[in-house]
Symmetry: C2
Subunit: 204 residues, 2 copies
């Protein structure tokens, strides 16, 4: 028998190498060779483990989404249930270290573009978008009227994605990401403050 338990290791190696290649060369210039060389493996191995280049690309996106989900779950577990804290958690997990790395940022953007014309990727992307939105909406709805919560959630989701996009395209992504995180949190704070002011006025 050959080495056993190597399968998952190899798969992860290839996924990492794929993201490195996409970040460095772009989706456009990422080839089976550019990936396998980075992983220190042969070109054939990609088809062996993922059925082809396309399969590896999808696996890489799934991996990014998993990271994002895990990030959120960890942070959610470590706080009480204040809407304010939960919203901060959501923002933080979207800007967390892993996600913030230039590697991930560039890879995301490539995926977004490709998702528009490949149903497999598009579905994954939409699930993720819907999750961000509904997480936000749930917390806002505990403090606001339904309509207000919907609006605030949509605005926040757009702001998060917008800062991501602009940061990835900027000359200094790191700095832009940090500023983006701060400004998203500030927006949420002020939305909540205004909602509370509104509520106390209605009650009196």
């Amino acid at each position: 028998m050959p080495k056993i338990g190597v399968k998952d290791t190899r798969k992860q190696q290839l996924i990492d190498a794929a993201m490195e290649s996409i970040a460095e060369l772009g989706m456009q210039n990422t080839t089976i060779v550019s990936i396998s060389k980075r992983a220190g493996l042969s070109s054939g191995i990609i088809s062996h483990y993922f059925g082809g280049k396309q399969g590896l690309i999808e696996a890489a996106l799934r991996h990014l989404l998993d990271q994002l989900g895990k990030e959120l779950r960890v942070r959610m577990a470590n706080n009480d249930g204040t809407p304010e804290q939960r919203l901060n958690c959501i923002i933080e997990s979207n800007f967390s270290e892993f996600q913030r790395s230039a590697l991930a940022a560039k890879t995301w953007l490539s995926f977004w573009a490709r998702a528009m014309h490949e149903p497999g990727l598009k579905r994954l992307q939409q699930i993720n978008n819907a999750r961000l939105y509904s997480n936000l909406r749930y917390s806002f709805a505990q403090v606001m009227a339904p309509d207000e919560a919907t609006a605030a959630a949509r605005q926040t989701a757009a702001m998060i994605d917008g800062f991501w996009l602009r940061s990835a395209l900027s000359l200094d992504p790191q700095e832009n990401f940090e500023a983006g995180e701060r400004l998203c949190k500030r927006f949420v704070q002020e939305s909540l403050a205004q909602a509370r002011a509104q509520a106390s006025k209605t009650n009196s």
Copy 2:
């Protein structure tokens, strides 16, 4: 001499065809044949007018940016100088009919992704990002303290781009664009209202 004035016509035909192809097939599957066929011309003509496929791609992006700039200038000319009105103009021009079409949306996203790895496109993209930001900041600064204006401009710019992105990726781009425009305007309104409240408090 040959037909005169055909040059610009052909160039525009090819730019339109390129955007159609990118919107339909994605940047990935757009070839000089898929473009030239849509334009009803031969494949060789692209190199003749644009020096190659890459040249046409850049010209198409430049065209999109020009449209955006023209859109803004027209709207700016038709209003007085209230910061509120100017900000609405900026938002409207970013969501205007031309820009809103699924064609433009898909093309934009493809450009964004590609811009990250091609200096020529990246420069164009950054000029555009900087213009949106500084237009916004200028108007906010007439009502707010400098720091506040910077923050509001950054938030608004991110929200605009974010709604663009999420709309382009959504199942119903049209509806999402419209909602996005409304919510961007609402955000600006509330930012201005809060700034004025702050100002009157400070004065008294």
